[in-house]
Each structure stands twice: as C-alpha cells, then as structure tokens.
Symmetry: C2
C-alpha cells in the first residue's frame, strides 16, 4: 500500500515536472524530445576516453610547428572522421619566433647568471623531454642585447608608473622587472617601452602561484622555484593572429607585411624568468621600499630600484614561418545546413599542455563522439555542428584568427553562435559571453549535475558565491539564483568570432578547486593534471555535458534562444556605470587638486624619502550622453516588442522561421562599427573588447570607457555618437524581427 502510493506519487511527480519543463527556444511539442536526447547524451559521456586522449595528446611537447602538434591534429581528425564528421586539416602559414639564444646576467659585485631552465622531475613522466621542449621565452619579444640598471615596476601597468613617478623613479634607459599577473603579460613590456625602458623581465612571484599559495610541485600543484611561465607578448589588444597578415587569412600565398611594419610585435626584448632567477636581481635593487600592494612572497625587502649593479639581457630569435593545422569537423544539419553552431578549443600547448589546453579539448572530443554516436542512431542535429581544434592559440590566437579572417563572410552569414573552452578543472562553472544568451545558460546550469555534490552546477555555483560573499552582499544575494554571466575580454579563440565578427560567443569552463602553478611550464603535464586538477576527469565530463547540451539546444532549437532584452539591460548597466565613473572621477579630481593646492601631500609625506608631490590634473568635463540615452529608449522598446511577439513561438508561421532565426543570430553583428575602436580597427564590437592597457581584462563600451579612463574627452565624446549609431542599427534589426512576426 505504502509502496504503491509512493510509486503513484513518483509517476505523477515525473509527469508534472515534465509537463512543467520549458526550454528556451523549443516549442512545447519538441521539448520532451530534446530532453530525452540530452538524457541519452549524458548517459554516454565517458571519463575514460578523456584519460586515454589526454595521455596521447600530452605525450610530447605539442606547440605550433612541432612534430607532436601535427600528429595530434591528425590523431583528432582520425577520430572526428570515425565519428561521422566531414573533417579537414586547415593549414595556415604564420610567423612564429623561437629562441636562438637567451642570456640574462646581473653584473656588479654579486654577479649572477640566470639559469633560464626548468629542471625535470622524476615524479613527472614528461618533464625530461628536453630536446623537444620550447625554452622559456616570450614569443614576439624583440631581438636585442641591452645592459642597464634594473627597476621594479610591480605589475607594470600604467597605475604602477604613476606610483613610480611619486617615488621620483624613471625607467628611461633602464631594464624593468615586473611580476606576472594583474594584466595580460604583453601589457607589461608595452607600457615599459612607452616609458622609455629598453628591456623587460617578467617573473612569477611565489605569492601569485608559488609556495605562498600552497605546496609546490611535485608535493603540491604550485609553481616550483625554477618554474617559468612562457607566453606571448604580441600586442594582441591591437590585433591578434599572424602579425604580418592583419585582417586576412595567412594562406600559403597571402601577401605579408614586412615584419618591421607589424605594429603589434614588441619593441624591446622581453624574457620570463623563475622566482629563483628573480631573487638575486630583486635583491640588487636599491631605492625606496615599495608600497605594500607591490610586495611579493620572496624572503627579501622589495625595493623599487634602480639597482646599482647593471643587468645584461641578450635575446635572439628565429623568425620563422611555421605551418599550423586547425582541425575542422562538420556534421551537416538535417534541417538547416546553413546555420552553424561552432564549438572550439585549441590543441597547441606551450609544452605538454595538459590543463592548457588538453583538458578542455578532450571534453570537446567527448561531446563530438557522443553527438556522432547519437547521429548514427538517427538523431542527427537540425543545424550544422562544427567542432574545431585550433592550432597556434598560445602565440597569438593564430589558428582561429586566420581561419576566421579567411572565412569571415561565410561565418557572419551562417554562424548562430561560437562556444569556446580553454582548459578545465574541479570546481565551479563559469560562463562569459554574449548577454543575449544569459537566460539560455541559466537553464543549462540548472540541468547539469555537479559531480561532487549531486546538486545542479548552477546551485553549486550559487552556493559558492553566497558562501564567499560579504555579509552585506549575502543578504542581497539570498534566494536569487539567477546567474549574471561575465563579459568577454580576450585570451582565447572566441576573440576573432566575437570582437572581430560580432558572432554571439561564450567561454565555458569549470575551475576554482584545481588551482596550481603549472601554467605554461613543462609541469603542465598529464601527471600534474590527473593528480591535482581533475582526477578521474569528473569535471571533464561535467564540461562535456554543459557545453554539449548548449551545442545541441542551439542546434535543435525551433526559435533561437537569444533574449536581447537582457543584453539591452546589461548595456544600460554599463552606461550607468560609465556615468558614475565619470562623476566619481570629477569629484576625485577636484578633491585631489584641492589637496595638492592646500599642500596636504607635502605636509603628510616623510621628508627624508624625498618623494615627489602628485601633480594636479585637468578637471573632468560633463560629457553629452544624450545620443546614447535616446538610442537606448528605442532599443529597449523594440527589444520588449520582440520579446512580446515571441511569447507563443509555436504559433509563428513556419515559413518565417528561417528569416526570423537569421535576424536573431545576426543581431549582435549590428553592434559592430566598421572602422573599429580607436587605433585598433580589428576590434569592431562596440560593447566588448580586451582593454588596451589590461589585455585579458574586458572593457565594456571600450572606446568610451578607455577615452574616459585616459582622459581623452574628445575621443570619448566622438565614440558616444558612434556607439549611439550602432545601437540604432541594432535597434533596426530588432524591429525587423518584430515586423516579420506581425
């Protein structure tokens, strides 16, 4: 009796829930079919495949141009073909410098010759592959042989140079040493060169990813004393991809700029070093003790410099053209072959690259495998699905950028969305990207189960943000599980799709419980990953279920699940943020100027330190935001009309669906401005860009925001008008959607 009752309840409950379940973009009649499909998909996801593939893909160094890199591309292509995809290796030929010679010495009384070498470890099976490893270096550094005094510049961002100025220290004619972190690494030599420095060293401080954070490898996951972060220092905030083929594909016969005319190649020699090599250099610095926020975790007093002893940095590179191999695997859509849903992750690593990039790549492969299996069982996607494995991401998003530039028109015509990942570990799900997909990703987050707790990945993410919040924020956050997604800056292969072409994009990954210090070193290996970052690939599977689910929903949706009202509200928030930032700058500038005039800083400072008094700044004018305000009124109204028109999608005349969907997936392209951002025309999206002085870090409403931040009021005002026009353009495309539904 009891059991029967429970059974009935259970059946009723299941029916009830199923009946209730709504999926954005799906007609009620098609929802259950999609959910059944996802259930089968989840059940087929395997962790052991990921383990096998990672072992192979990380078995030897696989940077762009390496033997293993090409072998990996072919290995993956073999699988994709087997799983039923039309697969090609898309080759491009790109400028990829590698070191010819590297040398760094401290001269003077206590000379030191930097080791510039990561030792192999018996606990790490691939760390001894010396002959195939790329040496520790920064790609696209200038050649050079410079000798000068050393100055410590903290993170090497513009604010740090303001501090140095207060301390009375100039880097002109000096070599600077900066800590990794706080900006994308390429910003550091760029800003150093702007201030007259002739060389730049970048080191990994143990406070950032070494012993201060936790036990170092192999005992723990963090950076050992000789570990070095390789990486590119090309000025990608100007444009990524092959520096000699800006804006077009670097095909075999492509016309190339002369290397000296490529403005995004670094102007001074730059070298990354370990904290073991940094220690004697930092110990040689004299001058004032740095501010607390600049201090790292080495056992010494951090001084700003300059050093009395000079430093000699000598670097020569082979400026070779190398072939890269993207793997492009397509499964044509049954119903809408000309609507593409694209998924990508890069396959090149700096060395063995297990976490970065193979952990995301094997999840993508598993998605592709299962979708392929299901297709063979007769469940082919309605839209075309494209799986990409990019080569040459590490140096400059080379593979993705060249391919995107090479196929720009077709991609803008056909691409519904681009979903990216770039590494994964235990922890909490993170989504960033086009805000029109925010509601869509919230639904995904509700439907995937966290492998450690059994609740949804959305609930676990909510629990984490709530547990970590301040007590004031907790009160506001409680009960509100809606997840605001992040905005995208740069740093992975979504950049050409998103910021160059305006294709709706997102980056997805798990993290927060797999922190370590292996990044871009020889220790980012299978051994490190499986011991510390995601033992058993449980979160690899969670990523496959999350991203795979998103791919399938986008591929099978009746009406594409873009909700532009959310994007519009997000732009409103950015605008009010810009306004209050400007107002606050005005107040702060007035206060600071008054304090300077009243001699407050001179009276407060320690006269024995001889620091300079800050200089007064020009006052902050009132900008005229009215054009954007007016545009936003119209955009909001139209986004609302469109939403209302879509309340009962199943009633839409089927003949209109293709046109409607095209309007929906192309709407974000209307936010592009053809001439792009000031001084960087490649970046055309007027809402999102990597910061010119932050690199990875996103700047929303970039032209206006950076105009304000850099006190370039004229440019800010000019771009207020431009952004208003793009908003009007965008508004018109929403209106076309409304019209079609009438």
């Amino acid at each position: 009796m009891r059991i029967l009752f429970a059974l009935i309840t259970c059946i009723f409950f299941t029916l009830f829930v199923s009946a209730q379940k709504k999926l954005s973009g799906f007609f009620p009649a098609n929802t259950q079919k999609q959910l059944d499909y996802e259930k089968q998909f989840d059940a087929m996801i395997s962790t052991s495949n990921q383990d096998v593939w990672m072992k192979f893909l990380t078995s030897r160094p696989h940077h762009i141009g390496s033997e293993q890199g090409k072998a990996n591309a072919e290995y993956m292509a073999g699988f994709f073909k087997k799983w039923g995809y039309e697969t090609e290796l898309a080759r491009y030929d790109v400028l990829f410098p590698t070191p010819k010679s590297r040398s760094l010495e401290l001269l003077g009384d206590k000379p030191y010759k930097a080791k510039l070498e990561e030792p192999s470890l018996k606990e790490d099976g691939t760390s001894g592959q010396k002959s195939e490893q790329l040496p520790t270096y920064n790609a696209y550094s200038a050649d050079g042989d410079v000798t000068a005094e050393l100055v410590f510049v903290n993170r090497g961002i513009p604010a740090d140079y303001e501090e140095l100025e207060k301390m009375g220290i100039s880097v002109k004619g000096k070599i600077v040493i900066a800590k990794y972190g706080g900006s994308w690494r390429g910003i550091k030599p760029k800003v150093a060169a702007e201030h007259g420095a002739i060389g730049c060293l970048i080191y990994s401080d143990p406070k950032d990813d070494g012993y201060v954070e936790g036990d170092v490898y192999p005992k723990g996951p963090f950076r050992p004393e000789q570990g070095v972060q390789r990486g590119s220092v090309m000025d990608m905030p100007v444009y990524p991809g092959d520096p000699t083929t800006p804006g077009y594909g670097s095909t075999k016969d492509a016309k190339r700029l002369d290397r000296k005319d490529a403005i995004n190649i670094m102007k001074i020699p730059v070298l990354p070093i370990s904290y073991q090599d940094a220690l004697p250099l930092l110990a040689a610095l004299e001058g004032p003790v740095v501010p607390d926020a600049w201090k790292g975790g080495l056992p010494l007093t951090y001084h700003a410099g300059p050093s009395k002893a000079k430093v000699r940095l000598a670097l020569q590179f082979n400026w070779d053209i190398k072939p890269l191999y993207n793997v492009i695997a397509k499964m044509k859509g049954e119903q809408y072959p000309d609507e593409w849903v694209i998924r990508g992750n890069h396959h090149d690593g700096w060395v063995n690259g297990a976490a970065d990039p193979v952990s995301g790549l094997v999840a993508e492969m598993e998605e592709a495998r299962v979708i392929g299996e299901l297709a063979k069982k007769g469940m082919k996607p309605r839209r075309t699905i494209v799986f990409c494995a990019w080569d040459g991401e590490e140096p400059a998003l080379l593979g993705s950028t060249e391919w995107v530039e090479d196929h720009a028109d077709e991609l803008q015509q056909k691409t519904v969305a681009y979903l990216n990942s770039d590494g994964n570990s235990r922890g909490f799900v993170g989504f960033s990207g086009s805000h029109a997909l925010e509601q869509f990703f919230n639904e995904i987050a509700t439907d995937v189960t966290d492998p450690q707790t059994g609740v949804s990945i959305g609930d676990r993410r909510y629990a984490k943000s709530l547990a970590d919040a301040s007590s004031t924020s907790k009160a506001k956050m409680m009960g509100n599980k809606y997840m605001k997604i992040g905005a995208l800056g740069a740093g992975s292969d979504y950049s050409p799709f998103f910021q160059h072409l305006g294709i709706p994009s997102a980056n997805i990954g798990f993290g927060g419980e797999g922190n370590g210090g292996e990044y871009h070193s020889i220790y980012d290996s299978y051994d490190h990953f499986t011991k510390f970052k995601d033992p058993g690939f449980k979160y690899g599977s969670a990523l496959a279920k999350t991203t795979g689910r998103a791919m399938m929903r986008l591929a099978n949706a009746d009406i594409l699940p873009f909700e532009y009202g959310i994007l519009v509200n997000t732009i409103s928030e950015y605008m009010s943020d810009l306004r209050s930032m400007t107002d606050q700058m005005r107040i702060d500038t007035d206060i600071e100027n008054k304090l300077i005039k009243d001699n407050i800083y001179d009276l407060a400072k320690d006269p024995t330190l001889g620091f300079a008094t800050p200089k007064a700044k020009g006052s902050v004018p009132y900008l005229d935001f009215s054009k954007i305000d007016n545009a936003m009124v119209q955009v909001k109204a139209r986004a609302e009309s469109l939403k209302s028109s879509l309340v009962s999608p199943e009633k839409i005349n089927p003949s209109k669906i293709v046109s409607l969907n095209k309007i929906l997936f192309q709407a974000e392209q209307q936010l592009l401005f053809a001439k792009g951002l000031p001084r960087r025309p490649w970046y055309k999206h007027m809402i999102y860009a990597p910061g010119f002085y932050t690199g990875y870090g996103v700047k929303t409403m970039p032209a206006i925001r950076e105009g304000i931040e850099e006190r370039n009021w004229k440019e800010a005002q000019e771009y207020i008008e431009i952004v208003a026009s793009t908003l009007m353009q965008f508004s018109e495309s929403l209106q076309r959607g409304v019209d079609i539904l009438k």
Copy 2:
C-alpha cells in the same frame, strides 16, 4: 613706505591675534601670561640633553632588578633634585620571574634545536653586553617541560580558533605557535590554554616587523632574522601589578598570595622566538594550507598543522622577589598644593630600551628641567607638578600599579590628571585618553610646531590623515581639522590611574615615521634609535613641548579645562555603535543560520579538504537599553547646563573655584563601579578597559560590549543597568558643578 606698511600690518596682526587667542581654562586676563611662559619654555627645550641622557640611560641593560636599573633611578633622582624637585625613590618588592633554563627542539626526521639567542652586531655598541642581557623569554610563563605536536594558530585570538574548528583541527594536548601582533601577546597563551593547548610559542613574522616591512638591522631598522620580542604574558586584562598583591601596594611587609593562587599568571609554558627559529618549526607543519590572512612572509607554505614531528618545550624560571625603584619628583604648587598634575614614563627596559622607554623618558626629563629652571626664575606652577619615572612597567606595569594602589585614596582626592608617554619617534602626534580633555588637546596641537614642516603638529596630523584617507572619506574630512582623540586600552602606566581609579588620563606620543623591528630586543639601542627613529631628537623636543605645555596649562589654569559635553557625546557614539553592532549581529546570525540550514556551506566547500560545516548559533535577542537612554538624557542636559554656567569663567566667585575644580577633576571617578567589570574587579571604569580577549586593544563600554561579543546576553543586560547607575552618579556630580555656580 612699503616696509613701514608691512611693519604696521605685522604689529597690528600680532596684537589682533594675541587679543583673539583663547586658552581653555584661563581667564582672559591670565592668558597672555601663560602664553609668554610657554614661549620661554619652548625656547629652553634642548635636544642635546636628551642625547646625553639617553646615552647614559641605555648604556647597559636596565630591566627591573638590574644594577643599571637602579643606577638609572638614582641618576634621574639626582637631576630632579638639582632642578628643584622634592624627589624620592619609591621602592616596592615584586614577583619578577627570570629564566633558569630554556630549551626548544623539533624532534622527528629533521630535528632542529632552537638558538634562542640574539647575536651581537659590530654596528651596535651595546648589543654585545651578553652577561647583563635578559635572555629571550616571556615573563610570567609557567614552568614546564612539554612534548607534543605543533599547531599554527595565526594570531591566537578566539576568531582564529573558530577558523581552526572549521578546518577540523583541535589544539587539545598540542603546542601552539602563534604570530606576534593582532592582540596583546598575553592573550595568545591564555586562549591557547582555554582550548586545551599545553604549550605556546610566539614568533615575530617578517611580514609584521621584519624584511617584508623594510631592510633589517643594521642596514635598516627592521627585525633581523634572530631578533626576538621579549615581553610579559601575565593576564593583565584581569589585573596588572604584582600578581601576589592584587589591589594593594607590594610594600616590604605586604601580605602576599601564594603564587599558585594568582589567577593572572599564565598556566602553560610560553616562549617567544625569532623567525629564524620559527622557520623549521613552521616547515614541519602538515594539514591544510592556512587562509590568506594568516600567511606571513617566510619563504614556505603556511600549513595549520598538526606537525607529524613533535616539539619539546622546556622552561624553568627563578620566581624571585625583586626590588623596584620608582622615581617620584614633586614641585609643590604655589597656589593649590593639593591639586596634582602628574606626568609619567617608565624607565625600565627589556634590555637597553632606547626607544622603549627612554625616548619618552628623556623628553619628560627635559620638561622637568625647563619647568624647574623657570620655577627658579620665579615662575612656579600654581598646582603641584609630579614627575614620575616608573620601574617594572615591562613585566606588568609593576611600579606604577603598586604606587597607585599604595596611594589610591590620596591620588583620587588630589590628582587633576595623569599624562603618560612610553616611547617616541619621528612622525605624527597621537593623543588618546579622557574625552573630557579632547578640546584641550586640540588647542595644544595647534600651538606646537612640527619640526620637519614648520606647521603645527595638529595641521601635520590632519594632512596625514587626509592624505591617507579613501577618496570617500577625504570629501568628509576636508576642512574639518578637529581631532577626535583615541580611547585608552592598556599597555602602559596610565592603566592604574585611569581604569582603576578613574583619574583623567592621556597617553601622548609621536610616531609613524620611525617604524622598526627593534621592539623588546637587544637592538632597541642608542645606535638604532639615533640612526633610525629620531635622529637629533627633534621629535623628542616636540614631545617635550606638547606634554610640557599640557602639564603647565593644567597646572596654571584658572578653571580646569574639562569639557564633559564631549565625553557625553562620545559615550552616545559608543552606545549607538553598540546598538548597531547588536543589530548587525542579529542580521548576520540569522543569515548564517539560514545558509547553514540551506546546506550552502556544504555545497560550496571543497569536499577533498574535509572541512567541517560551521554550526548554527543562537539568535540575538533585543536588549533593553532604555535605562541608559534615560540616563543619557539627564547626563546630556546637565553637561550642557554646566557648559553654559562656565561661559564667562572670570565672573565666577573666586571662593568657589577650589570646590568647582575639585568637582571637575573628580567627575570621571563617578564613572567607576566599585565591583568592577565581570570577572575582573580591578578594572572599575565603566567606559574604557583593555579587552579581555584583545589585551592592548581598548573596549569602550567594556562590560556591555564584551557581553554582546561573547553572546552573554544576561551579563550584557545586567551591566546596562549598572552602567546606567554610574551615568546617573556622574550626572549628579555635573549637577553639583552647576549648583555651585548658581
């Protein structure tokens, strides 16, 4: 013509300013005389005397019971006599333990025997006086020989044990190692023992006063790797002074408690160590990595423990009775010999003690010398001035406490105020103490010139606080130079005067530009001080001018410059602070309990770390503050009446002045409650006390505040009533002032 005009302007201006100048407490007719007097005083202050005296006083170790300690007392007494003071050496006999044997070892695979020794330096002239130096130890530690695993407890305060509980770590039966700082040192072993620890190590982390802060001695002022902070761990928040004579003078024949009955002697062995000795111990810890806020500056990963290897700590002490010698120098007041203005600074040091205490002491001596000289010229103070140099402050405020307890009645009858200093360096003036003197100290700060900038010390302090403030605070602070003075906790000789007897007190000193790591080590020497802390004794002179000026104004004022309205407003602020603290606790408790109930912390935590979930706490009741609210209405009204009655002090009937002044200087005594604070009857002041779990740190409205903080709602409510009664008592004394003026 021009010059003449300027001259006239100048004369006019001087006259105008003089005419305008008002001094709190002085009849207009007497103001100029006092200002002239101060001008002469300033002109006579010498830096070279301070240099000579410091050289002598720090020439050898001069802790309580030492040869040099007694010699110093006699040296000073000789000067005071010469300068015209009735001078005595007031001897008390007190329990003062010194080490018989000390040993600390790490056992296990990587054994280490701690050095427990500060090396002498050729750059420091007195650091080699090994035979006279007290070894590195904590006075009033228990004897003991304990062997156990080690646990790192951060600062060792109650909140740290809550964190440890979350990590699933108990200190029961373990030895703990705590960082110095974050509380008075005696709190650390007390809280450790409360949690079942059997031994306690306290080390100086380089992040607090070692190489992280700046270059170490002798290159810079900070703590070298073998430097150790000595210090007392007696439970002074229960009562200071000789632990065997609580509440009365430890005269030669005083009856003494048995040592085991003295509840403020530490129950477990405690030893301070250097960061060199701490390094191998901390490196032996296992268990989880500590939270970021716990991490210090040593080059290792900070783990919470426990260690696998055990630690052995063995300490034996000589529990001797030692004589101490206070120097008490009186200059009888011409007009009011039974009204005493007392000034003090201790003279004992842990070793050579240049900064602590001699830098404040030589300023006091210089004040005494100049006042003596002026008296000889016929300018004797109207009230009695008493200069004290206390012995035995370092172990437990022994000299001041025993003398105050021995003369309690007379001091309560006669003492107008007690002004203390305890070390001094370059920088910014700081005042803390009775808020009835806040306006008075604001005037002093306006009238003393800063030696580095030439503006007033008040203006420089204002500039510093403005320059360092956040931009939000700057807007609020601009133009408001009024200085809120701090509240007094414990940590120096004002404690018996202020918190035991209710005598208006203040602590005064300069600092902020003489930071270092010499504190309580052999490196707190003449060489260190004159090189780093106040070269040329310019701030010694500034301190003499500040404190000496305050002494003379208090000694010569017509009507004593107590402004009780300010104290009353300050109490109001404390009360509203207590209310909002309670309300916030209620909100936070409800939120935390809800999050715990909703499983949020379990979902958010990393399941591989096995941390415990926090436990729900009882909800926070609403307390009945009405008795205090009602009392405050009356107190405010009466403070205002008193202020109005004193608007034209020169019109007061001269026959009433003595009675009025007595009411004024005794009013704060009405805020005492005879039975004192819960579990610590020695502390009788109901507004200010050292925190039971913070030590130095003041707790205002201590019984109520600590009742709330410790969730002892019954006791908090009980003391709301008691504090209300003392406020009524205080209100009546203000009324007596009003009545006398009718």
